[in-house]
């Protein structure tokens, strides 16, 4: 599973200006609805449902909100770099500034899990995160994300 299979160049936001977790998820849902024909409200609801089970703020300033949506034909990702870190009720209680959102069709099954694991591995890499934090250009961000080799965890 490669990141470029999940992410297109127009689904990267370089400077998202939000102040809260809810606002961030709303903005991202809106952005998703503009590139796909998904309903903004439906996307937001799915993400919030997932947050209720436990935060997707995985620590070190990273959040990976995700969920399954009927009417999606393939895995769909969106990346956003916050202009200022926001409170995401993350597991380590640190503010979040990098968000990778991942939506999957109802029937994605194992692919969904593999994609999530892949995104998690990608953003676990300190060097990659440093590079992402040091760039405020959407194309550059996309290049960093899509060119990263998969370092399979031992």
């Amino acid at each position: 599973m490669e990141i470029r299979d999940l992410l297109t160049s127009d689904s990267v936001i370089a400077n998202l200006r939000v102040t809260s977790k809810k606002q961030a998820l709303q903005e991202l849902a809106g952005a998703v609805s503009r590139v796909t024909d998904l309903d903004e409200r439906a996307v937001f609801d799915v993400l919030m449902e997932r947050e209720k089970l436990g935060t997707t703020g995985v620590g070190n300033g990273i959040a990976i909100p995700h969920g399954k949506l009927p009417g999606l034909d393939k895995l769909y990702g969106m990346f956003a770099r916050m202009e200022k870190p926001i409170d995401f009720q993350a597991i380590d209680e640190q503010p979040v500034d990098l968000i990778f959102l991942l939506l999957a069709p109802e029937s994605a099954g194992a692919d969904h899990l593999k994609a999530l694991a892949r995104v998690s591995r990608l953003l676990r890499d300190r060097a990659t995160c440093d590079k992402l934090r040091g760039t405020d250009n959407a194309e550059a961000l996309y290049a960093i994300l899509s060119n990263s080799a998969d370092v399979q965890a031992a």
């Binding site: 089970l53 995985v58 990976i64 597991i91 899990l113 694991a117 998690s120 965890a153 031992a154």
Partner: protein
Amino acid sequence: MELSNHLILIGSALILVSIIAGTLSSRFGAPLLLVFLVLGMLAGEDGPGGLKFNDYDTTYLVGSVALAMILFDGGLRTRWKDFRGVSAPAAVLATAGVLITAAITGVAARFLLGVDWLEGLLIGSIVASTDAAAVFLLLSARAMRLRDRLSSILEAEAGLNDPMAVLLTITCVGLITSTDPSLTLDTATIVAGQFSLQIVGGLLAGLFGGYALLTALNGLSIASGLYPVLAASGALLLFAGAQEIGASGFLAVYIAGLVVGNRRHKATLLINRFHDGLAWLCQIIMFLILGLLITPSSLIPVILPAVAIAAALMFIARPVAVGLSLAAFRYPPREIAFVSWVGLRGAVPIFLGTIPVIAGVDNAETYFGVVYVVVMASLIVQGWSVNAVGRRLGVLLAPRPAQPPRVEIDLPSDLGKDMTAYTVQARSMALRRDLARLPLPENIDVVSIIRDGILRTPADLERLAPGDDVILLAPPDQTAALDRLFGARQPGQNDPDAVGEFSFDAQAPLGAIADAYDFWIPSNRRETAVGDFLRRNLLRMPVTGRRLHLVSVELIVRRAENGRIITVGIELDPITGRWRRLFDLTKVWLESRLGRR
């Protein structure tokens, strides 16, 4: 000739089955010694084995040898500095504690069985001491980690309290069988004299014998394989010699083990390893033979009063005895409660129960049956629940990390350093630094490293890799530090390799999580909180990093406090062995059928 071959066949088969059954029992937390005991009963006359074995004398002989070896091994493994700190409370527990336990249990036996006071006291004395084999075995389990002080006092008590019980038992038997059973000043003096001889004689014999054994070990030049045999036969000689003069052999071998184990001597590793195996063998054989000896159907008439006596022992006698004995030592109440609960009875009472039978006391076989039921009840109730009780009382520490593969080699020069070889584990501390900056304790040198079967010097390599074999020259007391360095790290709460990619609150409903990640769960567990589900299916203490496999994902304990799960992790792309997978799924399926809703 045919008979001896049959004996070998049956004996070895029983031991093998015991070992295999033991590994299985640890999965279910069943007390190991109970498994051996039950196997012995199954092999016996009421079980499918149908072996007839009724020889109290042989049992007494085998039991003596086995107990002596177990106590010697227990002494070898006790660190002097741990022992010293608890010697006073342990000594009180081992003397006054035993006396109080015997007295209260004796009163209970007097009324429950309707026997005389002296007979009641005899039964009380027989079951008054905690069992070294059971306690040592229980406390060495990896999951049972207690504060040092707590495990030391339990071990020391078990090592020290047998002579008191032996003495009380022999005194009662003597009084019962003597023609004039009235307690006069003369008999009291004799008892007091015997008591001092048992204790003081045992102590002195232990010290003297221990140092003599040390001198022999260090002075003699013999084939290296003979050193452990020398130690074992020395210990047995000491045991029997002490018993011969009326001193306590049990006390003597424990003390001798303590002396030998805490002094530098030759062939330390050989002796420790040999005695570790020998103690296991003795435990297995002793409990098998005790299981064989009893005819379970003969226990039926005494089972009700005996269970009542066991309850009096566990819930009244032992707590009172521990409470009074430790009152002066300022132990916190929950530790006193825990010590009370770990009053495991085992081989010693059964073994002491053979004494009245051999001495020809009236009804002795009935008493033996009673003692047997009391021990079984203690092993089942206390042995099985001790983990849960420890958790509830909050005295358990997180389990020790698994020991990394390590081999030690005694150097013949005896300079106080051993050669030690480790295989570096994945996720170990040693991988995080360059070789030159490895945080090695002082006094330790890296001799060489073997990577892919090729010998390298430390200068050749920049950094260690998982699977490298590292050979070091290190003092034996530094192994704990080295274990930490080369072993796998305790999983951190935020290390995704250890606790999974995502996390859930323990209260989140399992069904919603299973829907979100497409994994199978039993349909009647959808409403269960994910934390409860995980805890019920682990069968073990929930500790950060423990996992449960569910077809395509693994649920992991991410954060737990005092046995309660707070956060659950999920690993989405797990690598699980086939057997592990099958085992976990069976467990989950069974729990969903049998567990409460």
